[in-house]
């Protein structure tokens, strides 16, 4: 019995809690990608850098707050700085839309052109971020590190394995739940949210119904900037802030959006967790779990791992390819690309 509990604790500590955290980060990122796809009808490759930009502004504001001694112990100060980060990122996305995307929208450009333009935006933003904050690693986490320490858990339960819950993990999961709930409430119960869905569903009919496309586009960018800043900051808090990491995050984020059904917000959330858990389940070393559950005298040479952790990124790529071959519309039937 203790062995089973030990095995479960092990899985909880190294698989379930990290999976929920990473999944929440991907879900928020994928939600932004799917909104742009649903309303503006293109794959926004600049989204990763938008996340990095929002996180960067939040970090700069966090440092400012820290230097004047403002904090919200035990929570990280960055939470206090996020609204400013969102505001600046909203201004950025609206400026980019005004000076880059609007031109192509007015000419009714092909989605492929938008996609390539968004890659240009990605490189521009990447450069801008490196100019401002540098390419290095930035640590901006403060506040209490652990809500539950492994040692305390062991003392509490008498198990050999410990379960720890980091503050950043709890903050990430709770924030994601709040943001996603608010987002769905907005999309399903407000006039503006419904007009966004209508525009995404049928642009011409939305026009005939008197829905102002410029306003829908503006609100979409505001939401995307907010989601990107929150997702970027949460990721930075949990891991650390390194500009190039956000570019690498693009793949799992796009995989999440597509696996769930691109253009479908529910799908983006589900996709985020599917990708996160797949990555962890396939690269987790089950050796100790097997030892706990197996017979007393069992000995294992290998780590009992499906794939080395170096293959993490490959997992999302493989899932992406499988989904595109078998069910291109994704789990929740979004639009096909």
């Amino acid at each position: 019995m203790t062995d089973v509990l030990n095995a479960l604790t092990l899985l909880g500590n190294f698989l379930i809690i990290p999976g929920l955290t990473y999944g929440s980060q991907l879900a928020l990122g994928a939600l932004g990608v799917t909104l742009v796809y649903g309303v503006l009808r293109f794959s926004n490759f600049g989204h990763g850098e938008t996340m990095a930009f929002g996180a960067m502004v939040t970090i700069l504001v966090t440092w400012g707050l820290q230097s004047v001694g403002i904090s919200i112990q035990p929570l990280p100060t960055a939470l206090l700085a996020i609204p400013v980060g969102i505001l600046v990122t909203v201004v950025l996305t609206l400026l980019i839309d005004r000076f880059v995307y609007r031109y192509h929208r007015e000419r009714k450009a092909n989605p492929v052109i938008f996609l390539i333009v968004s890659i240009g935006v990605m490189f521009f933003l990447g450069g801008l971020i490196r100019f401002i904050i540098g390419p290095g690693d930035q640590i901006f986490f403060d506040g209490t590190r652990f809500i539950l320490k492994a040692r305390e858990f062991k003392q509490m339960t008498g198990l050999d394995e410990g379960l720890s819950l980091k503050m950043t993990q709890a903050v990430t999961i709770i924030t994601a739940v709040i943001i996603v709930t608010a987002m769905f409430w907005f999309l399903n119960h407000t006039r503006t949210g419904k007009s966004m869905r209508a525009y995404s569903d049928n642009e011409n009919l939305a026009l005939l119904s008197g829905i102002n496309p410029d306003r829908v586009v503006m609100i979409t960018w505001i939401l995307v900037a907010a989601l990107a800043t929150i997702a970027g900051t949460l990721y930075g808090l949990d891991k650390s802030f390194k500009p190039f990491v956000y570019m690498q995050l693009l793949l799992p984020i796009f995989a999440s959006a597509i696996v769930g059904g691109v253009g479908n917000p529910v799908g983006a959330i589900a996709g985020g967790y599917v990708i996160a858990f797949s990555e962890l389940i396939l690269t987790f070393a089950y050796k100790k779990v097997v030892l706990y559950l197996g017979p007393e005298s069992m000995e294992l040479e290998s780590l009992v791992q499906f794939l080395g952790t170096d293959y993490k990124i490959a997992v999302s790529f493989i899932i992406l390819v499988i989904v595109l071959i078998i069910k291109p519309t994704g789990l929740f039937s979004g639009k096909t690309i």
Binding site: R197, A198, D201, N202, N204, A206, L207, L208, S209, G210
Partner: protein, 234 residues
């Protein structure tokens, strides 16, 4: 002058004109029907009246005002409602949300209008929480017409409202359209089912290759041997 009048309209999508000197008009409380063979420019004529086709010549008068230069969405605000032939509902949204979106330009309470649409199409009340994309063809058309009615249009334009529905549903839809006309709404519609449509029409336009070929009351057109022979199958 008619309440809504597309006068001597000439124009097309590219270099070649589809409409040639074509005139279409309708009065309040009246039903006007545009019929003609395939490719006669029926839908094009209606789109021209609604501003979805650039006109090289001619003008569109609505309620005593020249609206030729207005975009379709601006004409909606003026009181023109349009039901496209296809893609005329928000498939991922519920019936009720479709109606709400139809009334997007209105700031006052829309509960009365929704109730009115439900009175007209009782089945929609039953299905109001269901996504419009899951409804049958006939029910979808009802949603489409209901959505357009939500703006309280003074003129309602329908592009082949009975396309792809069964004859029973078609009769039912025509009955509803007559009811809408009784509310003092001008109705302009394009129809494939020429005979049935002319039976309920106050005015009929027979178009051939973008020209007005015959223009008369629905009754007179049905009685006209030439029209019968060429367009109504004898």
């Amino acid at each position: 002058m008619s309440f809504l009048l597309g006068e001597q309209m000439t124009g097309g999508y590219g270099a070649a004109d589809i409409l040639h000197n074509c005139s279409i008009g309708v009065e309040k409380g009246e039903i006007a029907v545009i019929v003609g063979p395939n490719g006669a420019g029926k839908s094009t004529a209606m789109k021209a009246v609604f501003g979805m086709l650039p006109l090289r010549q001619g003008r569109v008068m609505f309620d005593g005002e020249d609206v030729t230069q207005l975009k379709p969405e601006e004409r909606v605000v003026k009181g023109m409602g349009f039901v496209p032939q296809t893609h005329n509902v928000f498939t991922s949204m519920t019936v009720e949300e479709n109606l709400e979106m139809g009334a997007f330009i209105r700031t006052e309470s829309i509960a009365d209008s929704i109730a009115q649409v439900y009175d007209l199409f009782p089945i929609l009340k039953e299905k109001r929480k269901q996504p419009a994309g899951e409804l049958s063809g006939g029910q979808r058309q009802q949603v489409a017409v209901g959505r357009a009615l939500m703006t309280h249009p003074k003129v309602l334009m329908l592009d082949e409202p009975t396309a792809g529905v069964s004859p029973i549903v078609m009769d039912e839809l025509f009955d509803r359209i007559i009811e809408i006309a009784r509310l003092d709404v001008a109705i302009l519609m394009v129809e494939q089912n020429a005979k049935q449509a002319l039976e309920i029409a106050d005015k009929g336009y027979v178009l051939v290759q973008g020209h007005n070929r015959f223009t008369d009351t629905g009754e007179a057109l049905l009685a006209n041997p030439e029209v019968r022979k060429a367009f109504l199958g004898g």
